[in-house]
């Protein structure tokens, strides 16, 4: 009886499991294997080289540059998008007029494909014909070369990413806010709590599960989303805005070096796995689940 039950369970799991293995686990293993082999070209047979590819990686200045860039990119985009998302969610959750329109406005960037957005922003950022510098010109400021100046190219990417992402996270917060019981706030009001105190002591703690979810997603996206680089900067100038995943793409498909690309991929997988684990373990303890 028990055996038959197990079989059924496995059968039910089979479709999902086979897809996961075929498209996630097997490629991961293959990437790992590839990262310890090397061949002169794809036509020649690969041979085992141990950690040689990783030694090359440690000495590759571009690798360290993209890692540093990715770090700043995550720091710059994740907290900002989350803070903005919470603010927008609180705003469109309150009883003001035109909330429908507001929600739509905040959500619009999310429904646009990243490539479309990047193509629009390419023209916003253009130094001479671009919207931003024309607006700055009206008040007499000679605007910067947003994508061409190595000191601000990465920040320009961050601004666009925050604009694109915040609306998406807002939806999660909005959903969470609507599940909060109004009695808590009524009670707090009776006690004479200020709006800020209510947010700090009630709303924000109760939103923690959402925040954890959003935080993980935002961090993953900081590593996963590079579509805009193809359009906006191609990682330039001189790698000033290059990110790890884009560098992997360049290595695999522009340099045609699948072995080094696999090495970079393994490093990226490790970073993502460690980030997710740390978040789950550390923050999970401090969350009120109901």
């Amino acid at each position: 009886m028990l055996k038959r039950f197990n079989l059924k369970a496995w059968l039910l799991l089979l479709p999902a499991l086979s897809l996961l293995i075929a498209f996630t686990h097997w490629p991961t293993i293959r990437s790992f294997w590839r990262s310890v082999t090397w061949a002169r070209s794809d036509a020649a047979p690969a041979k085992f080289v141990g950690l040689e590819n990783y030694e090359i990686l440690l000495e590759d200045p571009v690798f360290w540059k993209v890692l540093e860039n990715n770090f700043w990119y995550a720091i710059g985009t994740v907290p900002t998008s989350i803070a903005l998302a919470i603010m927008m969610a609180l705003w469109v959750n309150s009883k003001i007029r035109f909330t429908g329109l507001l929600r739509l406005a905040f959500f619009t960037p999310t429904i646009l494909p990243m490539i479309t957005v990047a193509n629009i922003w390419l023209f916003f950022y253009s130094p001479n014909i671009g919207l931003f510098n024309q607006l700055l010109g009206l008040v007499g400021i000679d605007g910067p070369n947003w994508l061409g100046d190595p000191d601000i190219a990465l920040s320009s990417l961050m601004i666009m990413t925050v604009w694109k992402e915040a609306g998406f996270f807002m939806i999660f917060y909005l959903a969470a806010l609507q599940t909060l019981s109004p009695e808590l706030f009524d009670a707090a009001k009776v006690e004479g709590a200020s709006a800020w105190r209510m947010f700090r002591k009630i709303t924000f703690p109760l939103l923690m599960p959402t925040t954890l979810f959003v935080l993980i997603n935002a961090l993953l996206n900081a590593f996963k989303l590079v579509d805009h680089l193809f359009i906006l900067t191609k990682g330039g100038p001189n790698n000033a805005s290059n990110l790890l995943l884009y560098y992997i793409y360049e290595t695999a498909f522009s340099f045609l070096d699948s072995y080094y690309a696999a090495t970079l991929t393994v490093v990226m997988l490790l970073i993502l796995a460690i980030t997710a684990l740390v978040q789950m373990l550390l923050i999970d303890r401090r969350i009120h689940y109901r």
Partner: protein, 428 residues
């Protein structure tokens, strides 16, 4: 009757008659094709393919549009590796070394058999053949080819008191005329730049022009050596840097490839250096009187060639290779090349194309259409080496580092040369 029903019918009749279907079946060709400047290119190629099919009813061509040059190569190679059919592709002319290292392509010399075919292979402009040759054989046949030309706004030349029929021909003139074309508003902000040379997307390509103008080349024909740190090459980069700083005729820092055409059309710059592939679009969209001229020179005139070549893949049967060769011959024949050039602005790939009525009439009506061809005598090969992607990026990064003032031209190029040398050591 569509292709599928045709196939079914052929198969049906063949089986009724009891003959082998192989003998009567049509040859199917799959061709991967990049669209680099967008627009109506796909429609034009579709039309050419249809003409080919109606002339060769025994050949079916399945043309797959695969994004930009990089995407096309990725998709074609992926198809080959996974066993999907792919017999030919238009890919970057500078991919020749990479494709040979992958053992993916065959030399055209080994495919042509008749004298007429050998003559055809000899009918292209020699400058366009440079990037397609390696080890004494021809691996790529020119199709979607361009050079860099100078587009300039004649109205602005007039307003600045310059002769609109005389574009700058030397580096010194380029700088001095550029200065006259810069226009500032009351508070000193620039409203109109003298010139723009794009430095994202394909910086190494623009730089190939500047180095050739300084009588230098960037690499050897075998693609095993680069010459990034030669004094003449460094001098070329210093000149480029000076245009944005000392002479201030261009914005300093890097200039975006993707928005440059719009900047020119919107009158934000009087001159731009860009691919001839833009010619037809600029012609259709410019609201002002514009001219096209050869790039200016220093020690000599010069521009690299650019664009895509036809390649035929090794992994195909003899019949497929013969059919593929037939298609390539058709697409590069003078009439088709002329039609293609007129529709896009890309070059007619051989002298024959410019002798057709189509192009002769077009050049007469619109002389800029011949500038790219006239510039060919000063042309050089585009940067193409083993490990092309990586070496190209070393150079791109160095150019951008120098233009943005992060490094001096000398340091940047010395670094790039060092990196390129160690990457290419294995191929020497």
């Amino acid at each position: 009757m569509n292709r599928f029903t045709k196939c079914l019918a052929t198969a049906g009749i063949a089986s009724i008659l009891g003959v082998s279907t192989v003998a009567s079946a049509a040859t199917d060709l799959t061709m991967y094709y990049p669209v680099a400047v967008g627009g109506s290119l796909t429609k034009i190629v579709d039309g050419m393919i249809e003409d080919f099919e109606s002339q060769n009813p025994d050949i079916n061509v399945n043309a797959i549009y695969a994004g930009n040059y990089n995407d096309a190569r990725v998709k074609a190679l992926a198809a080959l590796q996974s066993g999907e059919p792919a017999q030919l592709s238009v890919m970057f002319s500078i991919d020749v070394h990479a494709l040979r290292n992958l053992d993916a392509i065959v030399a055209f010399d080994d495919l042509v058999s008749t004298d007429a075919e050998r003559k055809w292979l000899d009918s292209f402009y020699p400058a366009l053949m440079e990037n397609g040759k390696a080890d004494g054989k021809t691996w790529g046949v020119p199709f979607q080819r361009s050079t860099i030309v100078m587009y300039y706004n004649k109205d602005m030349f007039r307003a600045a008191g310059l002769d609109p029929e005389k574009a700058p021909t030397t580096w010194a003139e380029f700088a001095s005329m550029g200065k006259k074309l810069v226009k500032k508003d009351g508070s000193g902000n620039v409203e109109q730049w003298g010139a723009m040379i794009p430095s994202t997307g394909y910086p190494y390509w623009m730089f190939g022009a500047l180095t050739k103008q300084n009588s230098e080349v960037l690499m050897n024909q075998a693609g095993t050596e680069t010459y990034f740190d030669k004094p003449g090459v460094i001098e070329a980069l210093e000149y480029w840097h000076d245009l944005g700083n000392k002479h201030a005729i261009m914005p300093s820092g890097v200039i975006e490839w993707g928005t440059l055409r719009q900047n020119f059309l919107d009158g934000k710059t009087a001159i731009m250096w860009h691919s001839t592939g833009n010619l037809t679009t600029v012609k259709n969209k410019a609201s002002f009187d514009f001219g096209v001229a050869k790039l200016p020179g220093n020690r000599e005139l010069g521009s690299p060639t650019g664009g895509g070549n036809f390649y035929i893949f090794k992994k195909s049967s003899a019949e497929e290779k013969a059919a593929a060769l037939k298609l390539v011959k058709f697409m590069t024949s003078p009439e088709q090349a002329a039609h293609w050039s007129k529709a896009t602005g890309y070059m007619g790939v051989g002298p024959g194309a410019y002798k057709t009525d189509t192009l002769q009439a077009y050049v007469k009506e619109f002389p800029p259409a011949a500038v790219a061809r006239d510039q060919l005598e000063h042309a050089t090969a585009e940067l193409s080496t083993h490990e092309a992607g990586r070496v190209r990026k070393f150079l791109d990064d160095a150019i951008q580092a120098a233009l943005t003032g992060q490094m001096s031209a000398k340091d940047a190029m010395t670094d790039a040369q060092k990196q390129a040398r160690s990457t290419l050591r294995r191929y020497q």
